[in-house]
Symmetry: C2
Subunit: 111 residues, 2 copies
DNA sequence: ATTATATAAAACCATTTGGTTTCATGTCAA
DNA sequence: TTGACATGAAACCAAATGGTTTTATATAAT
């Protein structure tokens, strides 16, 4: 779905440490730009640009609420990364460790 | 192990489409620079630079054989990416699909 | 009505990135 | 030993990246 040729793909979006930290913050819930900015040593404008890039990659979405714009995490595109990675699984037997992870983390079935 | 503060981390290394294609090529086995270059519409020098970046991220290693330098895939650092991704698993119930993958792909135990 | 808040948009800037061309060096083959 | 092959290294370049400051606009609060 969504549009044609975006400028930033998931790989690029996630390459920047600031953007990764933004995603992590948003994992805790929806936040307006100012609140996000307060966690970083840079200007609101800089953070707004990062959010724009994350938006293009569809890793976040923003909605206007009053005078603020609240952003939230949209993790779906990370699946592309996951699938890319899975190709390399066979090259260093780590399937056991994946299994271990799954077993140790209870699966919550969508009810 | 290896050294201190590398310039390129896995996230950056993997952000470039050319470098991802290089990794894919090397998944097929060790190759010298010229052989790799033949798959791309750019100069040998450009590819050598990409290989250097992949080297810094420890995603490839090169050994000198006669007059050529052969590179091979070192997928271990991809684990960092995988772990980073796993944090976001909880945000869109896909654990079942991981389990499915593990079950469907027989685990080869290192003998 | 006025002021403070929250964002948007534009112009600007230094550094990094991804490529090039050129030149030098080591190795293999005839 | 002469030439072809494979790479290394350096200088250069345009465009992209990650930041800034400034100016404008909409909303909320007093």
């Amino acid at each position: 779905m969504s549009s044609s040729a975006e400028k930033y793909d998931v790989f690029q979006a996630v390459a920047d440490p600031t953007r990764r930290k933004v995603l992590q913050l948003l994992a805790g819930g929806e936040l307006p730009i100012s609140a996000i900015t307060s966690h970083f040593p840079m200007s609101r404008t800089a953070i707004a640009k990062h959010l724009h890039i994350l938006s293009e990659a569809e890793l976040v979405s923003g909605r206007k609420v009053g005078r603020e714009k609240r952003f939230r995490l949209q993790p779906e595109p990370l699946n592309e990364l996951k699938e890319w990675l899975s190709f390399y699984d066979r090259f260093w037997d780590n399937k056991l460790s994946i299994l271990k992870h799954v077993v140790e983390n209870p699966v919550k079935v969508k009810e």
